[in-house]
Symmetry: C2
Amino acid sequence: MATETVENYIKALYALCRESPSGEAGVVRLAQELGVTKGTATSMIKRLSLARLVKAEPYSGIALTAKGNKIALDVLRRHRVIETFLVRTLNLDWADVHEEAERLEHALSARILDRLDEFLGRPSTDPHGDPIPDAAGNVSETRSKPLAKCRARERVCIVRIMDQNRAFLKFVAESGLKPGANLVVHSVSTQGNSLTVQAVRGKPVTLSHSAAGKILVKIIS
Amino acid sequence: MATETVENYIKALYALCRESPSGEAGVVRLAQELGVTKGTATSMIKRLSLARLVKAEPYSGIALTAKGNKIALDVLRRHRVIETFLVRTLNLDWADVHEEAERLEHALSARILDRLDEFLGRPSTDPHGDPIPDAAGNVSETRSKPLAKCRARERVCIVRIMDQNRAFLKFVAESGLKPGANLVVHSVSTQGNSLTVQAVRGKPVTLSHSAAGKILVKIIS
DNA sequence: ATTAAAAGTTTGATTAGTCAAACTTATTTG
DNA sequence: CAAATAAGTTTGACTAATCAAACTTTTAAT
C-alpha cells in the first residue's frame, strides 16, 4: 500500500494532469499544491517514477501511469464517499467537508469504504457534484458545460461545483446554487465578464465570469 | 498534536499501567505490545519523557503524566466511538472492529468525533462494554466483577468483555455472551478451573477460568 | 553471594519525508 | 539572439521512527 504522502502526491498529480491541456503536470505547481519545496517534489517524483506510478523524464512533464491512475481513482473514491457521508449523515457544513475528508481518506479500509457506500445507497456523486468512481475505478461524468458559456433565457440545472475553496462554497450555498438547483439565465453582460441568474424560488444573483466558469450545468429539456 | 506513533505508545502505556499492580509499565512489554524492538521503545520513552507525557527514570518503571493521561483518554474515546459506529451503523462484525478502529482513530477531528457521538446518541459504552470517556476525559465504569468469581445459582448480566482477540470475541458472540445478556451460573467446578453458565434463551456453555476472568458481570437484583 | 537470565540502554545504520541553497536547463522577452 | 526569469535538479543536512547488536543494570535462582 502507498503511504499517505504518496497518495497525496498521486492525487495532486491526477488533478493537475486533468486541468492541464497537455495532460502533464509540472514540479513547481505540484510542490505548490502540496505545500512543499520544489526540490522535495522532484525527489518524490523520482521515487514515484521508480515505483512505476508516474512517467517522467528529467526537465519535462509528469504523467500518471495506469497503476498511478488506479491509485488516484481509489483515493478519489474514498474522498468523495466520505464527503457524502459527512454532509448527508453527520450534517457537516458543505464548505468544511473537504479538509475533513482529506484527513480521513487515508485511514479507510476497503471493507469500511464499501459498507459506507452501501449505507449511503451507492451515491454516484458527492455533495459538490463530483462523480464518485465505482470500486473498479469507472467514473461516469454527467455531460455538462460551464454556466459561463450559457446564453440569456436558458434554463439549466446545476450539476457540479469545480472548486473546493471554502469561501466560494459558502457563497455558492448562500446563493442557492448547489448541485440540483434549477436556474434561469437572466442576462449576460455585453463584454461577457458577468452574468445574472435566478434560482426557481430565489433572488437574482450576479456572477463573475470566473465564478460562472466553475459552475457546471446541464440544459433542462 | 501528537503523531500517530506517539498516540499509539501513549495508548499502550495506558493499558499496561492499568493492568499492572504497581501502576507502572515496562519497556519490554511495551515494545511487545507495539511490535517494535525494546531499543526503539526506550528511545521513544526518552522522547515522551522530554515532552512531559510520561515520567520515567532510567532502569525503572514508566507512568503517564496528567498530560499523557489526557491524550490516552482522548484516543480511547475516539477508538470506542468509532467501534460503536462501525457495529451499530455499518453492521460490521463485532470481532473485526478493533483493528479497523485502530486505523481510523488517529484521523478523526474533534468536530467529526462530536458529530459521530451525537449521531449515535452519546453512547456510554462501546460494543464490548468498554466505557467511552466523555469529551472532558471522565470515564464512568460500571461496578462489576469477573464472571470467574461468581457462585452457582447467581443471576448476572454481562457488562464488559476485557479482550480484543478476534477468536475469543467470535466464541463469546456465538455463545450468546455479549454485553447486556442475562445469565444464570449453573455450576462451578470443584477446583474452580471452569464454570457453566446459561443465557436466558440459550444453551449451557462451559467456560475456562481464564475465559470467565475476562467477562465482567453485575449481579441482577 | 555469585552468577545466569531478564530488563533496559546505547550505538550506528537505515528509510521516508522534508528544507535551504546552489546549481542546471528551458523558456520568455526585450 | 542574448539576458533575464522561470522551471527543474542536486546536494547536504535534519527529524521521526525504526532495527540489530553490543552493552549495562537489575532481578531471580542456585
